[in-house]
Structures are given as structure tokens and as C-alpha cells.
Assembly symmetry: C4
Homo-oligomer: 252 residues x 4
């Protein structure tokens, strides 16, 4: 079989499109953000990607039917910005590192056809800690984009993420820059990494919404985000109680 | 070497054949069911499949001779139904996930030649518990098949199997649907997952027998099934005793 | 690079040659036997095999120089038998199961050119126990060879080796039989599996020597074998003492 | 995508060039030495290598920008020796053993074009112990080079490194010798293996500097080396104290 099988559903004319990626990863931050984006913008399916680099698996739809795991490209014509969007979502990333290269390269080949020169990849940055308000870390392919994203309160650190960025979120930018003359940004929402984190996804998606002037209704994601916020506050209060008790213990 | 080597033993004319798959997996439910089917119907060998995606291994026959591990297709002309059968059995599934894709794809290519449009894959659904009477779970490629299988008391759950279906039983259906215009059903016999389970295989094969109106003598498999049933009852009784003791302990 | 790189040193005319394989494995029984055979017969190097399926490694020669890991074919013209020999030795087997298939297939392609129709693979059969006198287990590609090898006191079991034969020793026979019309025997020397076992190799090589009427001087291997035998006896005596003590303990 | 993507920055005319390799490994000895060499000689970038055999990863530059992981070749025209240099550095070695073969083979193909016949690979030799003054172990492709390197106090052992040399440092020499008619030496600096070791790198690079009569300013690496030396001395003193205490304990 072809290692990667591409099925075009539609080949739309797109205006200076930007690729926005959100595949499964730390806290599923990128996946939540990108799928919310696609659903809320009522984006249209344009490409389906099947591959032996994905797990050998079907998933259940809940009505007794199943579907083969896949990645997908959806497009959205954005009248309020100079950029249309192509959104990459999927059930899984490639299972092997070679498979990740192959899949990212193929996606870049496809979106190049549609005129993509700019990429936003979305992900989580696992800190192992509960944050009051998650920051959004950035990494870009050039200094102009770094400076531009700083205006949107994206946080660029000298030292973080210290291990670089692994998987599609890094590879699309790295391969895009080196082999396809694309530039781009990775936006990483701070997250504990212990659970699926729609709050972190909310803060990440807010940057994307503002940057591309998108008419997204953020209400539902904000609601989920607030829920996570409340749980986080409760957890932090309990942590504090435990610590205070411990402190008293030492004093008494 | 060719990654997958196909040897045709016979190229029979088949009437609207359905592929029935049963390869090793949880409780070996699918393998037991498919091999019982093939043996009892006195099916004929049509294709042998060797592959570097299978383990690098020969198995012993018991008389001092050995054979290279393989998958096989057997056919059965079924005069009492509109469907002839092609039965896929084998010593192993592919070892890597890429190998599983390649092997499933190749099987689909082969059976397409013979006119297969419908696939039944057989497997086990490991619950970690001893069931009084194993249910048969289903998953299908379309709603018509879901409804049809419900008539045969196949159980479709909104949530199970929660992790989807991994391996050939899922992949043949997923790839078959997306790339070969085939439809199909996966039948999964409830099983503890702790041992080889001919009882679960019995209940799975009963669905297949009835659906395709097959003249299988189920006696031997029923006998093995009853043995497992008795062992299960004994184990459950002992569990109950232990629990009752524990209960008394709390009271006393 | 070519996945497997073949370098012919010499292309001798061989008389009805048999392939004798001994690569690293359980107790290194096969490797010890095959290398002793090659050295003692003063066999000639005919083919070197390099491959990315072998470990990415060089080994030291002891004089400060190194060499790339490889497999090799050596030949021996045997005037006292109808069979010349091709002996397969090497530093490693393939690292992945796909690599093992590729390497075995390539070796079979090469030796087919020289007219090989019969294969003897040599290995160890790990029992986890110290044997007084190691038996030599057999597995063959047909019943005639089973019967023939029984005359040489090769032991064929209904149940052993229960897991079949993994790696080159099995694969050369399995692929040879299915794809190259070759027949063959695997000879497995009983060994504890805890250490390199020249004694087991001695008993295995004795079968080969007698079968092909080879003028090998077995003295040195017999000497090493006797050393292992003495160590084994000491270990068994100590085991017995411990057991007797335990027995007395129960009585007293 | 091409498994390995080569980008030529420049194709210089080089005089009898030698390949000097230093990729990540034990104590990062080779990497530190080769990168110090390249930086200090103000070498020029000639080739960039991207590959799916490297990790699917981008690394941070510290200013908010990122870059795709890669290997690189740099050249240096050496007026004070008969040999110009090509220096191989990189973020990672290949992730799989097959990838290591492919990458080493490709590098050899490239440098062959520029006339390389001699290779120096640099690495660490992990002993698990803190050495007063790290020795530099050697392994060469022929006896002449062994003898020549002995003049530079390179230490050749009959038994070490007992496991051979794994990875690019071994493979470039092994493949170079067998398939590209190149000769070469591996220089391995003794190192504990517990931390990044610029001291070991210093001693390794000193051999290279002297052999090729290179005008390298070793000051900075010597400074780092001395720091490691002091830390090592402190650690050893503490070890001694602990041991003495223990000794006294037994006496008292």
C-alpha cells in the first residue's frame, strides 16, 4: 500500500492560507484548540489522510459504527482577514519518528499546493504544576514573528522549552522552514500535563483568534476553561492546607 | 525479498463471497472460531501468505517436522446462502503496526479480486471478568449492518470497546471501507482475557453460522464451551465464598 | 545504501553443496560449532555480507585494529562425501525481525547459485537445566530427514521446542523450503542457556561430522567440552548436597 | 520525503581532506571536541543534512527562534599540513541502527566526492570511574595507523573497548574501510560517562591538533578541562575520606 494515502474531498481556491495544526499531544491542548476552531468556524473538510504510520486501529462513533483513524485538513474562508485557514486535526500523530517526518512532509506538500506560506502549530507545554493562569509560550522560525507574537502576550523564554519541540508541532515548522520556504509559530499553552486541558487550549486559541481576527464564539470553550480553573483552585487550596499543616507541625 | 509473498494454491470462482477473519488476539477467540469454521466446513486452501512482517520463526508440527509461520485464505462454497466464504486464518498477526497495515491491505487486494464486498472479522473483547454467558459485541461500517446484526442479538454499545479495535479485526474493516468500498462487521466475544476461550468463540461463531445459514456441526466447540462454562462456574462460586466469608468477617 | 551488501571473494565450483549455518544464539552453540568446523576444515572465505540490519558497530581484533560486523560464507571441498560445504558464520544475527527475513532470504539466494538444496542449521536449545550429557534435538523440513537423522541419535520430540525455532536457524529452513525448494534439518544442542556452551556445540558438531563423513579433528572442542562437563558435575554435586541437607533438615 | 536530504552550501576545492567526526555520545566527548575544533578554526559550513532518521524535533536557539535538528559538514583549509579538514557535527545521531547505517553511508558518499581517504572519529570511552588524567584510547583500520598513533601517546588495548565501538564513530570507519577504501582512527577519551566531559574532549582534541599541526587556541577548552579536573579531585578526595573512615571503622 502507499505509506500515506491522500483523499481530496474538495480543492478550494484559498486566499493566502495559513496552516493551523492541532494534533494530540501534552494535555491535548493543540487538539482541543484546533478542533474547537474547526467546529466553531464551520470549516469544510478538504483532505483525508490515512497512513500505515498511524496506529492499526478503528475508533467507535458511539452508534455502533466505527471509522479508521486518520488526519484531516479542513478549510475556512476568512473574510475578516487577509488569511484563509487550513486546519490540520487528527486522531493520532505518527507512531514512529520516521512516520512523523513522512506525515509532516506530506502535509506540507499538500498545503504548499494551496499557497500556504505561514504555519501556526498549537500544543501544550507540560510544567508538572497547576498554573493560576496558563501562559502561552512561543517559538518561531524568525525574529520578526517573535516580535510580532510578543504583541499578543505570547511568552518567549531563553531557556524553555528546554528539550525543544517534539512531534508535528515542531516538525511542520522545522521542515516547513528548511524545505518549503514557510515561516511559522508554535504556540504552547502552559498545562500541568496530568489531564486533558481545555483551559490551556482556551488561552492558546485566544491568541489565534485575535491574530487572525476570527469570528469564533469562544463561550463554550471558556465555560470548559472556567470549570478547569475552579478545579485547579480547589486543588491548589488543598495543597496549601496540607503545606500549612506541615508548617504548623514543625512549629508545634 | 518481497515484503509479502503470495502463493495461490487455487483460484476458485466464488459467488458473492464474504471474508471471515480470525487471527490470534485476545483469548484467541477469533482464531478459534475461524479455524473451527474452516475445519468443520472442510474448506479448501486457496492462498498462502508469507511475510517479513510476521515473526522470524518456524513452528513444530509434532512429528519432528516444522513449517514457516504464515497466514492463509481458505474458501467454502455455501449452497445454502447467497454468500460463499473466504476464511482468513494464521499463526500470527503482523509484528509492527506498519506490517499490520501492509498485511491487511494485501489481503483486501486479494479478496477484492474474488469479488468480496462484505467482511466479518472475529475477535475477543477482554473485560477482565468471568461472564455467565458471554455477550457478543459488534461494530459495523454502516448503520444498516448495525441494525441487521441487532436481530442476531449482537450487542452494540455506545461506549465499548472504548479503545476502538486494534489489529487486523479493525484494520480490515477500516481499510476495506475507506479504500476498497467494502462494508463489514466486527464480532467480539466477551472474554476474561486470561485464557484461551473456546466458549466465547462458540458464541461468536453461532452468530456467523446463523447469519450465513451455514451447516456447521457445532458439537465439538459446544463441548469445549461447556467445559469452560463449568470451570467458570467453579471459579465464580469460589469467588462468592471468599466474598461471603469477608462479609461475615465484617459482621462477626 | 543497499540494505544488504554482498562481496564475493571467490566463486568456487561446488559439488552438491550443503549450507551449514551457525550464528550467535542460545549458549552460542551454533556459532561455536560452525566456527570450529570452518577453522578445523581450513575452509576458504567466499562471500562477505554487510548490512544495515546488523548492529551499527565495529569490533576490536586485539591488535588495535577493528572490523565492521558482518556475516560470512566459507566453503570446503569434501572429498569423502557427496556434499561440499558452505558454512555461514557471523558476528550477529539481524537486529529486527524484518532484517532477519531479509538476511536469511539473501543468503538463500546466494547459496542457491552454488547449487545448495540441503541445509543444516545449528543452534542451542535452552532448558534452564544442567544436563549430564546434552541431547541433540532435531527439526526437519520433511519426514525422510526426520527418519534419517534419528539414525544419528538426533532426538525428535512431539512437544519440543514448544515455541518453535526463532531466528536464522528456523528461517533459513522455513524460507528455504517454501521459496527455494530446499530441504533441511535444524540440530539443537541441549544447553542450560546460562553460559557459552562448547560442550553442547561438541555434541551438535559430532552429528554433522558423522553425517557428512568429515575429517575434523575434534580434540580441541572435546577438551573444552570436557571442561564444561567437569564444571557441570561440580555444580550438580553442590546442588545435590544442598538438596540432601534440606532433606535431612526435614527428617531431623 | 527523501530519507536523507542533503543541502550543499558550498563545494570547496579541498587538499587531501580528512574527515573529523564528533557527534553526540558518551560524555559528549566527541561532540565537544569537534565543535570546539570547528569554532576555533573558524571553519566554513559546506553541507547540511536533514533526515527522518534523526529525532522529529526542533531545538530552541534562546532568542525565541527554533531550528530543525540536523548534521553538518564544515571545512577548514589547513595551510600548515598536507590535509584540509571536513568536520562532521550534529544535534543527534540516527535514532535506529538502520538510520545510523544510512546516515554514515551518506556522509561517506559526500566526503568521498571531496577526496577524503582518511577519517578521524572522536568519542568518549565510559569507564564508570573518575580518572586523574584521562587516557586517549585508539582503534584504527590498519596496523600502520596503530603504530603512527602510538607516537602520539594514543593508548591501544588488547581488550578495550571490549564491546567494540557503536554508532557513527565506529560505523564511519567500518563502512569507510569496507566500501569506500578509506582508512582511519577512532580516538576515545577516557571519561566517567556520568557527565558532559570537556576535559576528556581536551585530551582527545590535543591528539588531533598535534597530528594535523593545527593552529587551534586550546585555552578555553583547557580552562573548562581544568574546572572538571578540580571537581574530579574534590570528588576523589571525598571518596578517599569515606574509604578511610570505613577502614578506621573496621580497626576501631
Amino acid at each position: 500500500m502507499e505509506p500515506i494515502i491522500i483523499r481530496y474531498i474538495e480543492k478550494p481556491e484559498l486566499k493566502n492560507p495559513v496552516l493551523v495544526e492541532g494534533l494530540p499531544g501534552v494535555g491535548n491542548v493543540g487538539k482541543i484548540a484546533a478542533e474547537y476552531l474547526k467546529d466553531n468556524l464551520d470549516a469544510k473538510l478538504m483532505v483525508e489522510i490515512f497512513s500505515k504510520y498511524l496506529p492499526p486501529q478503528v475508533l467507535m462513533k458511539g452508534d455502533g459504527t466505527m471509522y479508521l483513524v486518520r488526519n484531516q485538513l479542513w478549510y475556512y474562508k476568512n473574510d475578516e482577514s487577509e488569511h484563509d485557514l487550513i486546519i490540520l486535526v487528527g486522531d493520532y500523530q505518527g507512531m514512529s519518528s520516521e512516520g512523523q517526518y513522512e506525515l509532516s512532509y506530506k502535509v506540507l506538500e499538500i498545503v504548499k499546493e494551496f499557497g500556504v506560506n505561514l504555519i501556526f502549530t498549537l500544543g501544550g507545554y507540560g510544567t508538572g504544576q497547576l498554573a493560576d493562569k496558563p501562559r502561552v509560550f512561543g517559538a518561531a522560525t524568525n525574529m520578526e514573528l517573535v516580535e510580532e507574537m510578543k504583541k499578543y502576550d505570547v511568552y518567549f523564554s531563553e531557556t524553555e522549552p528546554s528539550g525543544g519541540i517534539v512531534g508535528a508541532a515542531g516538525l511542520l515548522l522545522g521542515l516547513g522552514k528548511e524545505l518549503f520556504r514557510m515561516e511559522g509559530v508554535c504556540l504552547m499553552g502552559e498545562t500541568s500535563g496530568y489531564f486533558t486541558d481545555p483551559r490551556s487550549a482556551y488561552y492558546v486559541l485566544e491568541k489565534v483568534r485575535k491574530y487572525f481576527n476570527l469570528s469564533i464564539n469562544m463561550e463554550e470553550l471558556e465555560f470548559q476553561s472556567n470549570e478547569i480553573g475552579e478545579i485547579t483552585n480547589q486543588l491548589k487550596e488543598e495543597e496549601n492546607k496540607v503545606e500549612k499543616k506541615d508548617d504548623l507541625g514543625y512549629i508545634g
